[in-house]
Every structure is written in structure tokens, then in C-alpha cells.
Amino acid sequence: MLTTLLIFWPLFGALILLALDSRMAKPWALAVSLIEFAFFLFTVFSFQPDASTQFVTNVPWIQSLGINYYVGIDGISMLMVLLTTLLTPLIILSSFKNNYENPVSFYGLILTMEMALVGVFVALDGFLFYIFWELALIPIYFICLRWGGVNRGAVTLKFFIYTLAGSLVMLVGLLYLYYQTPGQHSFAVEALYAAGQQLPSSTQGLIFWALFLAFAIKMPIFPFHTWQPDTYHTAPTQGTMLLSGIMLKMGIFGVIRWLLPVVPLGVKEWASTAIVLSVIGIVYASCLAIAQRDLKRLIAYSSIAHVGLIAAGLFTLNRIGMQGAMIQMVSHGVVIVGLFYIIDIVFSRTSTQEIASLGGIRNSAPLFTTVFVVVMLGSVALPLTSGFVGEFLLINSIFQFNGWIGAIAGLTMILGAVYMLRSFQQTMLGEANARTQNFIDIGLNEKIVLYPIVALIILIGVYPAPLLKISEAAVENLHTIITNYQALNQ
């Protein structure tokens, strides 16, 4: 029941919203997302941190096709739901000073998005997962299309087609697996695992690519990333936050739940390819970030680099890497939402996000500077910030996979410092210019969003144990399943 409530409460809130006056849209959306977060808190405190899936609901939906409404939460899903329900209120809050036209649709779409995202993370039926997966695309498509910036039509269309193409390939993969299930076919996660695992190695390889492509586009992994910088750049800030903070984790989560245990032999065959692509992506995207002149694009590319590290660590199939990926997803979400909000604040006050046109903001905005520094440190993974825990575990796992590849992946430490420090310096330090000399320091509204982000970055960095514990048993279990299977089927 609790899981269902977590999925559909935001949708319910969105429906109520339609009946409300447009002035009420913001506070109502915020209230809904905060209540959702309260539901999450209740869930997490009722959760036993073992490997089992809890709060399960499994009822027939389309019985003739073996499709069930089958949802539940294990440690892995729990962290993803945490990320979604935590960031959504912050994202809504971050829009409070904006006056988007037609706020009812805007906030309605955000809440619908939250519903779909939670759905993706808790679905245990392949078909249901696919439905939520596609459902998540629709609100964000409209958010980008209606409230986006210059050239939004073309950019959004490309994004839509690109990700849809990936999803369709995934659908083919899922359907194939479905037809491999015995008797009355089923989409249940266990049935699909069993179906995938009994396939011969070569077929598993094909299924791997069908599923991997969809996930790789969503994250995105090099070279499937070219939709991302344009989309992040064009989308309204809240859209960018949803995309980068939560939605890209659908891809990583997809790998964990719907790829690794489904076709372990396919994974075994292709993991090194995925790792190499991801690590190329780290260096490539970092270099591109260095070349950017626009803050939003710079952060967009930095995200590709960071996600590349997560993906590479995940595909090492090393427990440390998998746990690193889990905690890094949370950290990345928090940090990147902070960064995009910082850029939004800069843009709202100076009407520019060109690095070269800025400078000297620190002179008049010390609080804003402190916040920027902490978020930047989280991004460059300084120890005692959230970014370090995951980055260390991930580089550790990649290094164990192969020393040289690990060292190349580790270049993110250096290159990340190059582009982040440069953008910080050019934006915040030096003498103020005409645009920045009257920069007003952050106000209450902005503090409410930024302070929790800063607090989380430090808290997770200093004491990551509770988060690690939530997913530990589930990750351990998954790791055992995969390695045992791979050992049996040499």
C-alpha cells in the first residue's frame, strides 16, 4: 500500500491542482511534494535494511497477458525514491521567484513527473516499468517545449526522438524476454531474470545491447550523449534539474535492476566495452567542459563525465563499485541541482550565463560565494563532501578492474578541478563589472533551497554510513546472484 501511495500521491496532487486557482499552484505543488517526502520518511523508517523487497503489492492488471501491477521497494529502490522525493520539493522551491505562465500546467507536470519517476524505481513488472519509463518522458517533454529557451522546438524534438528510439529498442528486448518465460507468459521481474539467464550467451549479448542502448542514451554515456547538452541548456532550470538530478538516474537504475541480473553472460561479454566507453566519456566530456563558455553547458558536460564514472564503476561488477554507484547517484543529484540553481541565480540577476561576461560577484555576495564553494567542492569530490565517498569507491573498483583504465578514470579528479575552478574564478572572483557590481546576495527563498543542499553535501560526506547501509544488503545480494551465475556458466 505504502508503495502505491508513494507512486500515486503526486499524481493525485496534480489532479487536484487542475481544480485550483493558478495562484495556488506553487504552494499546493510544494505541499504535495513535501507530503510525499513525509511518506518517504515514514517508509524508510519502516524499512528493514536487508536484501528483501518490502512493501510489495502484486495484483493482476492485464491478466491475459500476464501483466501485473507489481511494485515494491528494496534498498536500491529506496535510495532512488529518496533522491526523487527529496529533490522534487527543492526543485519546486527553486522556481518560487519565477513566474512561469500557466503555473497550473507547469507544476502539474512536475508532479506527474515525480509520479512516473517513483514508478520507474519501484516497478517490479517489466511492462509496468516500461510504462512508467515512457510516462516520465511526456511531462519533461512538455516542460522543455513550453517553458524552454531559444530553439526549444528543434532541441526538444531531438531529445524526444533520441530517447524514444532507445526506449523502443528496450521494449523489443523486454518483449523478447517475455516470450521466453514459460507457460502463461509473465513480465514479473523474477520471471524475466529466469528467462534471460537461461538464454545462450550470444542471445544474451543481443539482449544486452537492446537494453543497454536505452539506458546509455538516458544517462547518457559517450557517444550517445549529444542530445544532452542542448537539452540541458534549453530546458527551463527546473526541467534541467529534473533531467540531471533524477531522470538520468533512471538509466543507471535500469542497468542495476533490468540489465545486470537479466543477462549476466551478456554483461560479462560486453562489460569491458561499456567500461571503456564510459571512461572515454569521462575524459572526453571533461575536455568539452573545459572548452565551454556557457555555465549551463559546462555543467551539462561535467555531468556526462560524472555519470561516466558511475557507469564504469557499476560495470566492473565489483561490490565496492556498485555501492559507490548507489551513493554517487544520490550525491550527483544533490550537487547538480545545486549547481544548476546557482547558475539560475546568476542568470536571474545578471541576465547572462556566459563565463566571460561575469566576475566579481564575491565582492557583494559572500553567502552565495560560500554556497557555491561548497557545492563546487562536492562536484570536484573533495574529501568530507558527498562527492568523495562515491568517487573513491568508484575509482577503486575501476582500478581493480584494470590499473590503467582506473588511472584514466581518475583524471576526472584533475580535469574536474580545472573546469570547476576556472568557472568559479571567472564567475565569482576578480573585480566586478557593470553586470555584477550590484549583485544581491541570496535571500530567504534561495537559502531554503541552497542550505539543505549544502548541509546534505557535507553530511553525506562526513557520515555516509546510513545511506550506504540502506542499499548494502540489496547490492550484496545482486552481486552474489550475478557472480554465482557467471561462475556456473563459464
Binding site: 531531438k158 567542492l377 573533495l382 574529501p383 575552478l421 574564478q425 562526513v462
Partner: protein, 638 residues
């Protein structure tokens, strides 16, 4: 145990100071800011002293540990926030909190009129916190936390006057060059974890002794760790950030870029003495890099005219000597020189700060001269510092430097020769600096001259204390040949016991050789001082002013061998070039070209396919029949 409880409080005090000044109460008066910041470090110092005496009175080999909480723990990886106090960390803690406290006090006077007073002490306290983590951590990852943390503070303090983009560039450069080293360090730590299954010192060292001398894996580990040291301790090829780091306020140069942070690499190698002893190759690399840096930086220092730059290159050079000591297996000697260097280099920097303060922020020694009569205390203390670094007995530097040279001679005469050359050059450039600054007549403008004044007490008292330490600090390590017992050696012995066993008996020089070496070096040092005196006092020579063309070697040295320019050409520019190419060619034309091409292909394909939809029923039936036939044929074939 009460003492163990104390351990956690030592780093906590400056952390609380940082938090209180920075975030709890922002409206503190300068007096309160200074009191809290200095008080926090003083508290740490007092506790460090208590721990030191506790260790001193305990049986040899005692160490204290304290675990605060589990930090990162998952799967087979586990690391705690736990501290280890043994003789080595105890010495480090005394230096960090002791010298740190003096520099805090000095800064109260030095920074009093700066708008960023509160911010300055915030960063300074945060630095002490991270530096203590670095030396007190009982595992590699906690050391790494401190390691990167002090790098952050260094970044913040180099760019303290953030309106000046040159300073910000220097700060960024320091951070990035350190990060290059840090990558090596963290990979070394990971390699340790992979092979030892733990990153706690105690576990690693106890397992390491089972490895044979020359083990390949240990060599890799130690080289990777040393890459970290190269970055943090400004050795070739990653030293160029340190001279630029002089952009920070002078107390920062004294504390971070001379006495403490830059010696982290020395501490790290001493801490890992067992691993290094197991890898003669790594030790050889340490010697070579250390010596090369010592000599190279000393030659650059000869031709510099910025008082802080001279001291900066001198620091790089002295650090090189410390590494040379470590590299020949004389770990105690490395730590000894680190300790004496902390005293006299902090003294020299603070003295330089006092000069700069008096000279209305002038740093060029060509514009100084004759300060002796204006700044008597600064003059006297600076002289002691100069004598100490030049290695004149009985000042602190003499004992530690002599010990390095004696050990170097035992290792190889070439090592001794290079180290000796670096150390006599030190005497020359330091006295050049000293004479140009303090003797003769003032070359400052009337305006500046009018404002020259001795610094306030908060600045001169730390100078005096440090001068006393620089004068007598060497007595903690009086060698046997001079009738001493070398107290430091005895205190540190348990830390290096195992390595001593692995390395076998050190070949001791016989006393007569040691005496001769000592005499030769001291003699040549006096000659160098005399040359400096002749050039800069008797002949009143002033270094070439800006804009006048220099010749050959002088030009090369003055421009620091053009290393910065070389790095710019072979690293920075190519990186930006590649980034540009990736952005404009690979990304936009190639990858996105393929993506868009695929899109167009599909559009074209569907347009073509649409032509098939003619609406002619006969055509549809025909197509259907053909398809069924193809289907049946293929089915029967399979």
C-alpha cells in the same frame, strides 16, 4: 583512558574555532575573532604537549589510538575516523600547533587592518584542523582527507585577496598541481587496499614485513605515494605552484607554504618508512628527485629579487634536502630537518612579513637596504634565521643539515657532493637576501621611508620565540660525534625500528671523517657568506633593475629556466587545443553528425516507404502474396 579521549579533542578545537567564527556568530569583534582562533590552536597545542609527555614517559613503542566513528564501510572495505598518536605524529602535532599558534598570534597584528580579518582566521583554523587530520589519521584515507583539506585551505588562502586575478590564477594553479599529485596518492592507497585488504597503517605495516625487499608491488605503491609527495611538497616536476603561492598573505606563506603543509610529503614517507625500505628503487627515486630539486631551486633562488620568492625557492630546495635524507634511509634525519626548518623558515617568512609590513608592501629587495636601524628586532631575529638556514653552528639548521650530509656521504659521495653544493648555495643566496635587505643605506622612496616602523608586539614576540627555537632547536639532535645523545633519534626510534631491521646496520662514518666533512662544509659556508658580504656590502652591488637585458646563465636563472613557459606550451595549451577540437570537430561534426544523419536516413526511408502506400488494393494483395511466399520459403529452409 583519559589521554586517548584527549586525542579527539586536538583536531576538534580548531574545527570548532572555524565553525564558531565562520558560522555561529558573524558579528564578532576583531578581538574576539583573534582570541577564539588563537585560543583554539593554543588548546590543541597544550593537549599535544600533554600527549607528548605522556608518550615520553611511556615505555618505548607505546602509541595511543582513538576512534571517533565508522566513516566509509561497505563490503570488504572499511575505514574509520580514527586517530593514532605515536612519536612521529606527536612531533608533527607539536610543530603544527606550536608554530601554528605563533603564526596565529603574528597574524593578529599583520592582518589587523584587512577587511577579511574574520575570514582569514576562519581559513587558518580550518587549515590547522585538516593538517592535524593529516598527521593524526590512523589510516591512509584519513591522511588523504587532511591532504586534500590542506590543499583546499591553501587554495583559499593563496587567493585570499580575490579581486586580483593573478592571485586567483596562482591559487588555481596550486590546487590543480596538487591534484595531479593527489591522483597518484589515491591510486597508491587503492593499490594498498587491493593488496593488503586494509588501509589501516597497523594492518598494512604488519603485513608488509612479509614481502621481500624489492617487491614489485611495493615499488609501485611507494612510487604512486611519492607522486603525491611531489605535488604537495613541491618537488620536480610539480614545484612551480609554490613560488606562485607567495601571492597569499605572508603568515600563510610561513605556516602553510614553509613550516607545515609542504612538509606533508616528508611526513608521509617517514610514516611509510617500512614500505619504502622494502623498495630500494623507490628510495633511489626519492633521492634523485630530492637532490635535483634541492640544487635546481637553490640556483634559481640566487637570482630572484622578491624577498618572498627567494624564501619560496629556498623552501623548495630545503624540502629537496629532506627528501634526499629520507631517500638514503635516514628517516629521523628527514624529520629532524623538517622540524628545524619549520622553526627557521617560519621565522624568516614572518621576518619578511615584518619587512613588507614596514615597507608599505614592497617586496623587491632592490628597493630595500639599511633596514637594520629601522627594524632592530626584525633584523636580529632575521639574522638568527639566516644563520640557522645557512648551517652555522650552533644554530638549529647546522645540526640537521650536517646530519643529512653525513648520511648522504655514507650512501654515496655523489649524493653528498650535490647536497653539499645545494647547502652552500643556500648560505650564499640567504646572505645575499639578508645584506640587500638590512645592510647599507635605504633605497626606498622618501614616501616609503617615512612610514618605516618596527612591527607591533603581536608580531615581534612570535619572531623572538621562533628565533630562540631556531637558535637552540638543533640541540634536540646533537650527534654522538659532538658528544650528544640525539634525543630526537631516541624518541622516534620505535617508529623506524622495523625498517632499521630490514635495512640492516647503517654504515656509520667514523668520527674523524665526520669531523672533516663538518669542518669542510662549515668552512666553505663561511667563504660563501664572505663572498656575499664582499659583493653586496663592500662593493654595494645591487641586482640588475627590471628592463635591463641579462646575459646567458643569469638570464636563464632569473627566468627560472623558463619552466613555467615550457609547461604552458607542452601541457596547458595542448589541453585547451584538444578541448577545442573535441568541441568543434569531434562533437559537433562527427558524433552529432552521425546522430543527425541517422535521423535523416530514417526520414528519407519513411518518405520512400510512403510511396508504397498507393491505395491500390490489387498492389496490396500482390504484396501480401509475395510476403507469404517469402515467409513460407524461409520457414521451410530453417
Amino acid at each position: 583512558m583519559v589521554m586517548s579521549e584527549l586525542i579527539g579533542l586536538i583536531p576538534l578545537a580548531p574545527l570548532l574555532g572555524f565553525l564558531f567564527i565562520g558560522f555561529v556568530n558573524k558579528d564578532l569583534t576583531k578581538g574576539w575573532v583573534a582570541t577564539i582562533a588563537c585560543g583554539a590552536v593554543l588548546a590543541s597545542f597544550a593537549m599535544s604537549v600533554a600527549l607528548f609527555f605522556n608518550l615520553l614517559n611511556s615505555p618505548a613503542g607505546t602509541s595511543l589510538t582513538f576512534t571517533a566513528f565508522d566513516w566509509i564501510s561497505t563490503g570488504n572495505f572499511s575505514v574509520a575516523f580514527s586517530f593514532l598518536v605515536d612519536p612521529l605524529s606527536s612531533i608533527m602535532m607539536l610543530i603544527i600547533t606550536g608554530v601554528g599558534f605563533l603564526i596565529h598570534v603574528y597574524s593578529v597584528g599583520y592582518m589587523y587592518h584587512d577587511d577579511g580579518f574574520r575570514r582569514f582566521f576562519m581559513y587558518l583554523n580550518l587549515f590547522i584542523f585538516f593538517m592535524l587530520l593529516l598527521v593524526m589519521g590512523s589510516n591512509y584515507l584519513l591522511m588523504f582527507v587532511g591532504w586534500e583539506g590542506v590543499g583546499l585551505c591553501s587554495y583559499l588562502l593563496i587567493g585570499f585577496w580575490f579581486k586580483n586575478q593573478d592571485y586567483n590564477d596562482a591559487a588555481k594553479k596550486a590546487f590543480i598541481m596538487n591534484r595531479i599529485g593527489d591522483l597518484g596518492l589515491i591510486l597508491g592507497v587503492i593499490l594498498i587496499f587491493v593488496h593488503f585488504g586494509s588501509i589501516n597503517y597497523a594492518d598494512v605495516f604488519s603485513k608488509a614485513v612479509d614481502y621481500p625487499v624489492g617487491s614489485e608491488i611495493i615499488t609501485w605503491i611507494t612510487i604512486l605515494l611519492f607522486v603525491g609527495a611531489i605535488g604537495k611538497s613541491a618537488q620536480i616536476p610539480l614545484y612551480t605552484w609554490l613560488p606562485d603561492a607567495m601571492a597569499g598573505p605572508t603568515p600563510v606563506s610561513a605556516l602553510i607554504h614553509a613550516a607545515t603543509m609542504v612538509t606533508a610529503g616528508v611526513y608521509m614517507i617517514a610514516r611509510n618508512n617500512i614500505l619504502y625500505t622494502l623498495s630500494p628503487l623507490a628510495l633511489e627515486i626519492v633521492v634523485v628527485i630530492g637532490l635535483a630539486t634541492a640544487l635546481f631551486a637553490a640556483t634559481i633562488a640566487i637570482a630572484q629579487n622578491d624577498i618572498k620568492k627567494v624564501l619560496a625557492y629556498s623552501t623548495v630546495s630545503q624540502l629537496g634536502l629532506m627528501f634526499a635524507a629520507l631517500g638514503v634511509g635516514a628517516f629521523t634525519t628527514g624529520i629532524f630537518h623538517m622540524a628545524t626548518h619549520a622553526f627557521f623558515k617560519a621565522l624568516l617568512f614572518l621576518g619578511a612579513g615584518s619587512v613588507i609590513h614596514a615597507m608599505s608592501n614592497e617586496q623587491d629587495i632592490r628597493q630595500m637596504g639599511g633596514l637594520r636601524k629601522y627594524l632592530p628586532i626584525t633584523f636580529a631575529t632575521f639574522l638568527i634565521g639566516t644563520l640557522a638556514i645557512a648551517g652555522i653552528p650552533p644554530f638549529a639548521g647546522f645540526f640537521s643539515k650536517d646530519e643529512i650530509l653525513a648520511n648522504a656521504f655514507g650512501h654515496s659521495q655523489i649524493v653528498w657532493g650535490v647536497a653539499a653544493l645545494a647547502s652552500i648555495l643556500t648560505a650564499f643566496y640567504m646572505f645575499r637576501l639578508f645584506f640587500l635587505t638590512f645592510s647599507g643605506t635605504s633605497r626606498a622612496s622618501e614616501e616609503v621611508k617615512h612610514h618605516i616602523h618596527e612591527s607591533p608586539k603581536s608580531m615581534t614576540i612570535p619572531l623572538i620565540v621562533l628565533a630562540v627555537l631556531s637558535a637552540v632547536g638543533g640541540f634536540m639532535g646533537v650527534p654522538e660525534v659532538l658528544g650528544g645523545g640525539h634525543a630526537l633519534n631516541q624518541f622516534l626510534a620505535p617508529v623506524f625500528e622495523t625498517s632499521q631491521k630490514i635495512a640492516g646496520e647503517h654504515h656509520h662514518l667514523d668520527h674523524s671523517t665526520e669531523f672533516i666533512l663538518m669542518g669542510v662544509i662549515v668552512g666553505v659556508t663561511f667563504i660563501m657568506i664572505f663572498i656575499a658580504y664582499t659583493l653586496y656590502v663592500r662593493s654595494k652591488r645591487i641586482p640588475t633593475p627590471e628592463g635591463v637585458a641579462l646575459n646567458g646563465a643569469h638570464k636563464l636563472v632569473y627566468h627560472k629556466y623558463y619552466i613555467d613557459e615550457v609547461y604552458h606550451t607542452i601541457v596547458v595549451k595542448p589541453l585547451y587545443f584538444i578541448s577545442k577540437v573535441f568541441d568543434t570537430v569531434v562533437e559537433k561534426l562527427f558524433i552529432d553528425g552521425i546522430v543527425n544523419g541517422t535521423g535523416r536516413l530514417v526520414t528519407w526511408g519513411s518518405k520512400t516507404l510512403r510511396l508504397v502506400q498507393t491505395g491500390n488494393t490489387g498492389f496490396y494483395i500482390f504484396a501480401m502474396v509475395i510476403s507469404i511466399i517469402i515467409l513460407l520459403v524461409t520457414k521451410s529452409l530453417i
